[in-house]
Symmetry: C2
Subunit: 370 residues, 2 copies
């Protein structure tokens, strides 16, 4: 089964190790499609992360150097911390009124880091409507194909679950098919993607390939701290104030193995903070000594609650998120619950307390990143 033959490879035939004959053939067919295409659209999932954005920007620069007519159209805005990567202003938010005609005439659309097809939102809807040929470069489990008869809609499907980031696959493609060396802006975009998806080489998806990629990007001119400080040292003052509120309202249970906090709308208002400032706070609670499970409850619209769960890696906690109607990774999951936070914590605290009691009987876990 070769890509480009008109057949679609099912997600169930994966995972594929990086250097399989399938992947080699997939890249070759994809490259032929790139060479043949005049107009190419690039996109990624809603609320793009560093991996999606970095992959797009590096790929876009590559295509523009090849004189392709190329645009990046995402369904939602990119977080401001990644704007430093976009010195040319290439990141656009898809506006059907303005862009649908342009989209309809694309020879190819490449989607990065997508996972769930539905997360393309209006971009995905219009690409399908206009039958644009689709390519996907990804390292996530695949879903969201129910309305497409369960079949991924990609003609070119470069999927490698074992890759530490989608940008790693883009890097491999560019290394193999690009005649020029990587520019510094491409290398910084790919490096940003790599560090944000591996937690700065911290999660267990950090493998040989992740470090080899880092070496190559450093050789292309990346200064690690220059990128890190732009991505990680941009904390808003409102977030700092809210962190103070968090530290004053932290609660412990289960012999200190559970750390939890509820942030109410009133607290956010008093810190002049927004939902966005809450990002990373559950990871912060997890950094506390003895805390194995961190829970952050954020009040949304009065009687709804956003729940974020983190585990230090010994206990999986996504089953609790699933019970609340959410989901995620074993050690990083969450849910959005239409109930007040007081009810939510009363529901999950006993479950988590039972869980941490089993600690001594369980081996050590890991953290596979996102």
């Amino acid at each position: 089964m070769t890509p480009g033959s008109g057949e679609v490879v099912m997600a169930s035939s994966y995972p594929v190790p990086p250097e399989t004959a399938y992947m080699k053939a997939a890249w070759r067919a994809f490259d032929r499609a790139i060479q043949a295409a005049g107009r190419i659209l690039l996109s990624t999932h809603e609320n793009p992360d560093g991996d999606g954005v970095g992959s797009q920007l590096a790929f876009c620069e590559h295509l523009k150097a090849l004189d392709r007519e190329c645009r990046i159209l995402n369904c939602t805005a990119v977080p401001t911390i990644y704007e430093f990567l976009d010195s040319h202003g290439w990141l656009e938010i898809y506006d059907p009124k303005r862009d649908e005609e342009w989209l309809a005439a694309c020879d190819l659309a490449v989607v990065f880091d997508l996972g769930d097809f539905r997360r393309l939102k209006a971009v995905g809807r219009d690409l399908l409507r206009h039958k644009v040929v689709l390519a996907s470069i990804d390292h996530h489990h695949q879903s969201g194909f129910e309305e497409l008869g369960g079949e991924p809609p990609y003609k070119y499907f470069m999927l490698d679950y074992s890759a530490p980031s989608t940008a790693t696959l883009v890097w491999q493609y560019l290394n193999a098919y690009r005649s020029e060396p990587l520019t510094l802006t491409m290398a910084e975009a790919l490096y940003t993607a790599l560090i944000t998806d591996t937690g700065s080489f911290r999660y267990d998806n950090t493998d040989e390939r992740a470090h080899l990629m880092a070496i190559d990007l450093i050789k292309a001119g990346v200064k690690p701290y220059r990128v890190h400080r732009r991505v990680y040292e941009q904390r808003e003052r409102s977030q700092v104030r809210l962190l103070g509120v968090l530290t004053n309202n932290l609660q412990y249970s289960g012999d200190g193995r559970i750390g939890w906090c509820a942030l109410t709308q009133d607290m956010l208002a008093r810190a002049d903070a927004t939902q966005k400032d809450v990002d990373g706070f559950s990871d912060f609670i997890r950094t506390i000594k003895d805390v194995e499970v961190a829970v952050l409850l954020t009040e949304v619209d009065g009687d709804k609650t956003k729940v974020s769960l983190r585990s230090k890696g010994t206990l999986a906690i996504n089953d609790v998120a699933v019970k609340l109607g959410g989901g995620g990774h074993p050690f990083a999951s969450g849910a959005f619950v239409p109930r007040p936070w007081q009810e939510v914590i009363e529901t999950i605290r006993p479950l988590l307390e039972e869980k941490v009691k089993t600690m001594d009987a369980v081996g050590e876990g890991s953290n596979n990143g996102g």
Copy 2:
């Protein structure tokens, strides 16, 4: 000039790139000394860090496997976060009454990551007194030889300023001279050293060698997150409370490019916190958006002040530390000042405000780690 010839190589003849003939000869001579020695002492600087401790423990395991009589004797205790590396209980604090006789009969002492010879304290004094043959493995600038006539006292001197960590040099030695593969405990010790000295591959001392070393250690079985959570996710509750105090007392000046905070003894007492909990707080202030220079003042004994200065990398700030009688790296420095914090901030604030005014005229800097 070859090591082992009785000559001592002056620090001024450095830096030496890693694969110079000098370094190769130095390692060869050092290895012969290891082979010939029966009793070997290992030490590092006072208040050991991850690099010193990780290097010692990996090297100690190597020597014990060679049936050498080997002890690790440091002048001060190792931070508790590194205790997980010491499953055999090899880390000891030097007690002259108990240990001097043992020390005096050593064939060789290897000091790791030392920099300033005086930071060996009583261990250094007694090694010199008993004329024990000394070897140094280090990547720091060398100092503290004034009382030794300005000459480093090392017969074997493996100094490489360009190495991302001392453990990188230990790893290179073990790769070249050890017949067995690295064990997991050795690999975890070396990995801990590497991530603590490179800021998890964040500082600009993170080079090709750092990432190659990481690959090798991951191949030896290291699970990155297992180590990271043991080193970085061990925050004391007292530190969390103190962080709340910090966020409530943060001040900004110089158009928000200076972020500063004074922590008084009263504040520490109310948070039930100690000086130790302040560690890393100046780095935290630096993570705030627009803050280029972070200043943390900690009140010590009423009218003394510990000053910690951090820069995001555009402005060097160690000249300010020097003015206060301290020193350090361009972007991470500090001082201990026998004056109340109110006087200290009044002294340095105008200097820093002048400095940040020059921002737009200056290029971008880097961060070379520690």
